[in-house]
Amino acid sequence: MIAVEQLLIRQGDFELKDIGLELADGEYGVLMGRSGCGKTTVLEAICGLRGVQSGRVLLGGQDVTNLPPADRGIGYVPQDGALFPRMKVWEQLAFSMLVRKLPQADIEARVRELADNLGIKHLLERFPHGLSGGETQRVALGRALSIKPRFLCMDEPLSALDEDILEEICELFTKTLKKENVTALHITHSKTEASRLGDVVFHLDGGVLNKV
């Protein structure tokens, strides 16, 4: 379960007030809204990348409002992927496991599994430079899922993709997320994506969040 209660985020003149949303386990939520309305801000608050003035963030029923991002057990797929430029694809997938010093064998197994599921086995030895938009998003998703988080936040992961592979990636995303049993929140401004992916759709407008 991802839940946000009465969140207040203030930054200069910009203010988001009384933000609340709730996603049940395994649900795929989509957050829509115009550019600059604060979608990313809400997502960053959930991930712990941005401080909040008041309110609570609950993940799986646990209050994580004051926990650092690393301790929240939440995956994050930023806009345009943000793959680490100096790491090979397999290093990106292994990164969070290497940081946590998991055994070598476990890391290798997990990297292989992710690469299989996401169809990026042939890219493991490549650097991110020169990967296509679709490939980048798959790697970014794999990286976020590598330590099996129960929650996932995605910031317009599909906005930079061509129409013709959009369908394929959408399918891959839903399939993979079901398989990994992840509760996901996905930002988009595309209605097609929202209706295609979302079990629940939220709309953020003028600092107010509504369930559609």
Binding site: L49, R86, S96
Partner: protein, 422 residues
């Protein structure tokens, strides 16, 4: 689409625009290249003859005479150097217009002015002859027939001798007006056939113990300064690019002070500052080699900080945020994600700091002094050579600096390339 469908408004050619860009940019590039070339060409890389006193007196060419007559000794070799107001000299029937050595066959020569009534600017000096060679305990002593003008610590080259142990460059150990001594190797035996010359300034400079010391001190101090600068510049650059805090604008100004301040003032300020520190510390630093490093560091570090700050500012925060969600704390994100991406910037900052310190002169002169074998770095050597009136020596030291800088830059570049492509 047929021809008539082409738009009527045709865009003017870009050629003139590009030409202006090339001229403006090219003039600068040209000056850089010309400067380097002039340095390389100016030095006379050939050995120079050992010359006696000047035969031409200062004065003007008289309006009525054809030139200026100088008496010579027939059979002797002379060195002629044209000045700005001479076309050459006439030796009997032969006209000599080039600089260099010639042998006198008659007993006078006519210096030909370009314009009468103006100053004599040429130089005419006899080549010294060796009158006797003696040897005692591996020290050879030469006597010359004229004052040779060579100084203790300078170098001479001995050539055209069949005997062992003589040929090569020797440091002059003792001089008198018409005599000089130098060490030869043990197996040397007394020789008669000997030719003496002055090696080119580059060899002179590289052989000089003082300049050898200053090369060493320059290389070591620049490297220490670079490491210290990076040690400080990386954290400051990172803090300034990532965090907002009270007093940041103030710190920003503070960081710029060493860049804006005249370097000489930095040295003076350091000197003044060290009047307020405990004696043991001031004794350890001021006018000693640590002062060289500190003076270089104060200026070079400011440049390294700017470079690192720009480097970190260009790396989006997104990467750290992702690393944080992937289980890193700030420190791990820095070491594992940010620093590897900043490698190019670190290398650039390091090279910049190194180059800055290599050329640093003013603050070192003020804060560390210019003591030979103690605080002499390459710019100091150049300055000391200039003060001694040896333009050639100064240029030789400059060439050494250019070569050193070039080597460091090439190494840094190749390292940078390797790291990017590996």
């Amino acid at each position: 689409m047929n021809d008539s469908a082409q738009p009527l408004n045709r865009v003017a050619s870009d050629r003139s625009f590009l030409a202006v860009l090339w001229v403006l940019g090219g003039s600068y590039l040209f000056i850089i290249a010309a400067m380097m070339l002039a340095d390389l060409v100016f030095l006379n890389y050939r050995d120079q003859p050992i010359l006696g006193p000047e035969l031409l007196e200062q004065g003007r060419y008289s309006e009525d005479a054809e030139g200026f007559i100088v008496s010579l000794e027939p059979g002797r070799t002379y060195h002629f150097r044209k000045g700005g107001n001479e076309t050459g000299l006439r030796l009997g029937d032969t006209l000599i217009e080039k600089d260099g050595l010639f042998t006198a066959n008659i007993d006078d020569v006519l210096i030909l002015p370009r314009e009468k009534g103006k100053a004599v600017t040429a130089s005419l000096r006899p080549e010294v002859r060796i009158v006797s060679i003696s040897m005692k305990d591996d020290v050879a002593t030469l006597k010359t027939d004229l004052p040779h003008g060579l100084l203790w610590g300078e170098f001479i080259r001995i050539s055209s001798t069949g005997d062992d142990g003589w040929a090569g460059v020797h440091e002059i150990k003792d001089t008198s007006q018409e005599g000089l001594s130098f060490q030869v190797t043990e197996e040397a035996v007394l020789t008669k056939a000997i030719k003496l010359s002055k090696p080119n300034p580059l060899i002179q400079a590289l052989r000089s113990r003082d300049i050898q010391f200053s090369i060493k001190l320059s290389l070591i101090s620049c490297t220490i300064t670079t490491l210290l600068s990076l040690w400080v510049a990386v954290p400051i650059g990172y803090l300034m690019s990532r965090y907002e805090f009270r007093g940041k604008p103030f710190i920003d100004v503070l960081l710029d002070i060493p860049v804006v301040l005249p370097p000489l003032v930095v040295g003076l300020s350091l000197l003044i500052l060290f009047r307020y520190v405990p004696d043991w510390l001031s004794d350890m630093v001021v006018y000693k080699w640590p002062a060289v490093v500190l003076a270089q560091f104060m200026v070079a570090c400011a440049f390294a900080v700017r470079t690192m700050r720009v480097t970190f500012e260009q790396i989006p925060q997104r990467y750290e945020q992702v690393a944080l969600t992937l289980g890193c704390n700030r420190q791990q994100a820095f070491w594992r994600v940010i620093l590897p991406q900043a490698r190019g910037g670190v290398l650039a900052a390091g090279t910049l700091a190194w180059a800055r310190s290599l050329g640093e002169f003013g603050p070192i002169l003020v804060f560390a002094g210019a003591t030979r074998q103690k605080t002499e770095v390459l710019p100091t050597s150049a300055y000391l050579e200039l003060q001694a009136g040896r333009t050639e020596g100064m240029l030789a030291v400059s060439l050494i600096m250019i070569a050193t800088a070039a080597v460091v830059f090439i190494v840094a570049r190749t390292l940078g390339m390797k790291r990017i492509f590996s």
